[in-house]
């Protein structure tokens, strides 16, 4: 497990009042935005459990929306995000739900548009977050690493083909998380990286056979 650093303890600098319910919400929004990587026609935020129950008092709804709009956790506009031009140009709605099979601070982002996508995540405390699902694939994205996300057809050799391309960029792989919906069906890979991937390398991965989605998700700055 990654040890915390002094920097983690004396930060983040953030809009209050709650690291899990406000800053965590912004970070979930930012990371989901990086995953979707396009302007959706509509986005539905489904807030669960504690997020649903105490979210309004903590500005969780504002934080999630601010993150989707690309605001950082210390952006002074978060408090009035609903009134910003950017928010007014986005079609969005909130749902507040209860589901005790989910984390106390869970959220689904349902993107509709050119591509429909559901991204789920949890705020796990002290501003730390994790995206747990993209559509029906389990993933493990915490925003701390640049990550290559690949959804592909479950055929032999894809993992080695992708990792070989990464090797050509001389980038070290910090962790690799794989899942699939069933044998020979859709599969996914989350590859956390210690460095930066080149566009050349991303193109090479995209050009591989059997690819459905290739996303390079940059680590969160704050």
């Amino acid at each position: 497990m990654r040890q915390s650093s002094i920097i983690d303890i004396i930060s983040p600098i953030m809009a209050g009042p709650s690291s899990s319910h406000t800053a965590g919400a912004v970070r979930l929004g930012l990371l989901a935005r990086n995953v979707y990587n396009a302007k959706p026609d509509k986005i539905t935020f489904k807030l669960y459990n504690s997020y649903a129950l105490t979210g309004k008092g903590h500005g969780t709804d504002k934080g999630l929306l601010a993150g989707i709009l690309g605001f950082s956790v210390d952006d002074v506009r978060i408090k009035h995000v609903f009134e910003t031009e950017k928010a007014k140009n986005l079609n969005y709605e909130f749902e507040f739900l209860e589901d005790f099979n989910r984390h106390p601070n869970a959220v689904d982002f349902i993107f509709e548009g050119g591509l429909n996508m559901t991204v789920s995540g949890d705020s796990i405390g002290a501003g730390e977050i994790v995206l747990t699902k993209i559509n029906n694939f389990s993933v493990n994205l915490d925003g701390k690493y640049n990550t290559l996300l690949v959804v592909y057809e479950d055929v032999p050799g894809v993992i080695s083909a992708v990792t070989r391309i990464i090797q050509e960029d001389s980038v070290n792989i910090a962790s690799l998380h794989c899942d699939r919906s069933g044998k020979g069906k859709d599969a996914s890979m989350c590859i956390c990286l210690d460095g930066e991937l080149s566009q050349h390398c991303l193109n090479a991965v995209s050009e591989l056979k059997n690819m459905y989605i290739v996303r390079y998700i940059k680590k969160l700055e704050s």
């Binding site: 920097i7 209050g16 002290a126």
Partner: protein, 292 residues
Amino acid sequence: MENAITTFRQLYFACKASNKKIYEAALDYEVSKGEYSEDDVRVQAKKSLDTMKEAIKIGLQSSEPSPSGMSGDDCNKLQLRFKNSPSVLGSTAEKIMTYALATSEQNLRMGTIAACPTAGSCGIVPAVLIAYAEDNNIEECGQINALITAGEVGRLVSNKMALAGAVGGCQAECGVAAAMASAALTQMRGGSVKQIINAVALALKNILGLTCDPVCGLVEIPCVKRNPFLAIHAVTASELAMADIISKIPIDEVIDAMEQTGKLMSPLLKESSQGGLAKTKTAIALEKNILK
């Protein structure tokens, strides 16, 4: 890793071996992990310090209510009181209490704060550190060293338990903040490594069992007023430690006890708002008014 510092005992020996201050040994270790440079840590400490000062400045002048309407005017009231009737503890203590309230109230208003270690406990470290620095002409570099000392304390506690009310109750949030503040204060007063570590042990020992039972599930009641209380708690710990009073239970064992206490604490009292203050008659009535 060689020469890892994951306990206070290891930190003490690292300082002793090279005759270093806690912030120096902490920075050496941080750099040795390879993720951050000394400059990265100092730059973040300066940013956090500037944010803390700004939050205090704005908070002292504001009486804007929180979104729930339950608080926002207490710092104002305390300042008025001290204008006419000085605190029995003296003028630095007045500053500490008002700065802690100012920061916590700014946090509620969705103002910008530095979570140190968490947002709910964000008033404690700045209040103690900045009030003392102002009244004793501690230069910025000394303040940054004090904040790094505090950060190292939080880091070592967080190696044993998550700094989250949902995991360890408020002892893991405001309690740890008070321990961090006592370390920063003792550092600024020229305390030795041993005195700083004892201040931390004394501060933590005396908040064991502190629950997290926020009314309506909001970081508000009792969190806001708990910040000035635990800021003064940090000063007491530093005073005792500066007198060479020793915690008979060594700090690493105190942290073990704290972790165990957190595990034994009912989930009803760990940020779930299912017990304690959150389930009082008045809290339930407030909940009906606010969450609708």
